[in-house]
């Protein structure tokens, strides 16, 4: 087991000997990966919000004021038997007024001035999970809109679509920025390893002469790359978490966004672990690139 101890000790010695380079590499890797993390965190939260809104979609079928009770009953039966409809709720004109009064108590006097209740009766439809796509909802709305007694159909699809579009762009940006910054992290770590190799070229040469295999020579440097990448990504994660908590606290203080802080979330443990693992992987790739030529000097 001395050989294993030797490899670990060499990796540690490399990190310690080039202390300043090691610290600089960890810090630059951390800032680089933190930038990737910001995009990733924004993307994850916006995607969650889009999914949540998509699941919470409600279609409101407003009825004509002149609709008869029979027509309401017919419409109710049609909607209840529709396979797109998962849940159905009827809101009469009176109930609509009551809800308005609860939701907007200070503005209620505006309606009182009109004398007659201007709010229409409606059906609130929750679409079945399989029919929540924008296309399915649009097709259904068109079909139901033509029925007798229906005045208008309203749903929050447009801005859900807009959000989905933003999420798609953010996804592409995250991939592009992530790729570029990951390449930067690989380069930073690769250069650090190259410096370590240069500083220890004599030792590498001696190891080769005494019969060390290429793998034996490379392992300490691969370990070093993994440690640099892992430490950098862990630090980036810490910075992100600190920044995230500050953001959440601050946004909670702004009245307009009150409650928003409960909707945003940090990476779950599995994603955090994957983030560090990816950092380690990038470090190993950086080392491998620098080590490609070691042990292949035979002319």
């Amino acid at each position: 087991m001395r050989w294993l101890w030797y490899l670990v000790r060499e990796a540690y010695a490399n990190l310690r000997t080039n202390r300043l380079t090691t610290v600089v590499a960890i810090l630059t890797t951390a800032f680089t990966l933190a930038c990737v993390g910001i995009f990733l965190l924004s993307y994850v939260n916006l995607r969650n919000a889009a999914n949540w809104l998509q699941e919470d979609i409600k279609i409101i079928v407003y009825l004509d004021d002149a609709v008869s009770q029979e027509e309401v009953q017919t419409l109710r039966e049609r909607l209840r038997t529709d396979r797109l409809v998962a849940a159905l709720r009827y809101i009469s004109k009176e109930e609509a007024l009551g809800e308005f009064r609860v939701q907007f108590p200070t503005d209620f006097h505006l309606l009182e001035g009109l004398g007659e209740n201007p709010l229409p009766a409606s059906f609130v439809v929750t679409p079945a999970p399989d029919f929540r796509s924008p296309e399915a909802v649009a097709r259904w709305a068109e079909r139901i809109g033509g029925m007798a007694g229906v005045a208008k159909i309203d749903y929050n699809q447009e801005w859900i679509d807009a959000l989905a579009e933003v999420v798609r762009y953010l996804e592409l940006t995250a991939i592009a920025v992530g790729s570029i910054l990951s390449a930067a992290a690989v380069t930073i770590i690769g250069n650090t390893i190259r410096l370590a190799l240069f500083a220890r070229r004599e030792e590498v040469e001696i190891l080769r002469l005494v019969g060390a295999t290429g793998a034996f020579i490379r392992i300490p440097y691969l370990l070093e790359g993994a440690v640099l990448g892992g430490a950098g990504s862990a630090l980036a994660l810490g910075m992100l978490k600190a920044g995230f908590e500050v953001f959440r606290h601050q946004i909670g203080l702004v009245g307009r966004f009150h409650g928003f802080e409960e909707l945003v979330s940090f990476f779950p443990l599995s994603v955090s672990a994957a983030f560090v693992a990816v950092g380690m992987g990038l470090g190993i790739v950086g080392s491998m690139i620098s080590l490609l030529r070691v042990g292949e000097r035979r002319r």
């Binding site: 087991m1 001395r2 050989w3 030797y6 010695a13 004599e202 030792e203 040469e205 001696i206 190891l207 080769r208 002469l209 005494v210 019969g211 060390a212 295999t213 290429g214 034996f216 042990g295 292949e296 000097r297 035979r298 002319r299």
Partner: protein, 225 residues
């Protein structure tokens, strides 16, 4: 053709760098257990020959056998295993300054994944054989040139190589230390290890009093095997 009793055999070997011939059509045999001096001025091709023997380089032409293995045809991954059978000693010692004498000598055993007990036993034996056991915890920079060369020799013999190659091993030593090192090589040779010493120093030839192959401008000019 491979000669079974020869542990080292070169057959019409040529090697050049940038069209300048370092070795030209060299053919020689070194028998198992032999002590051979490779004489020649600087640039005669001695170091090139040693580098070819440890698989550091490939010949442009010809074949090289070490203990029956065609070194020129070894795959890159096989070269480390060849080097584990060959001990190498250099004029500039090539010891790691940040490691103790014990750690320096243990390197060939560590790369072979020897056990802790084996490493301890063999390193102490090797250091005792070259007379620097008492220096095992010191760092190379605190040793004299002669002691450093002894440590280098201990590292070369620690895993019981079949061949010991030395490239100008006395180049940095005074005459007294030179004589001691040559005596050490004779002792190692007497225990069965084939020893090849490359030197430009005629004094070494006198001290060793063994078969000498003289190289000049890349060819063997005297005493081929």
């Amino acid at each position: 053709m491979f000669v079974p009793e020869a542990i080292i055999q070169l057959i019409h070997v040529s090697k050049s760098y940038d069209r300048r011939a370092a070795l030209s059509d060299v053919t020689l045999d070194i028998a198992k257990g032999e002590f051979v001096l490779l004489m020649g001025a600087s640039g005669a091709g001695k170091s090139t020959l040693l580098r070819l023997l440890i698989g550091e380089e490939r010949p442009d032409q010809g074949q090289i056998f070490v203990q029956g293995k065609n070194v020129g045809r070894l795959k890159q991954a096989e070269v480390p295993y060849l080097r584990r059978k060959i001990g190498t000693v250099f004029q500039d010692f090539r010891l790691l300054p940040n490691k103790t004498v014990f750690e320096n000598v243990s390197l060939p055993l560590i790369v072979q994944r020897a056990s802790m007990a084996d490493i301890r036993r063999k390193v102490i034996e090797a250091l005792r054989a070259v007379g620097v056991e008492h220096k095992k915890d010191q760092f190379p920079n605190s040793l004299s040139a002669g002691e450093r060369q002894r440590v280098c020799i201990a590292r070369a013999i620690v895993n019981g190589p079949v061949v010991l190659l030395a490239d100008e091993p006395t180049g940095n030593l005074d005459p007294e230390r030179t004589a001691e090192i040559i005596e050490l090589f004779k002792l190692i040779n007497a225990r069965g290890t084939t020893v090849v010493v490359a030197t430009h120093d005629p004094h070494v030839m006198t001290l060793a009093n063994r078969r000498a192959l003289t190289l000049a401008q890349g060819t063997v000019v005297q005493g081929p095997g």
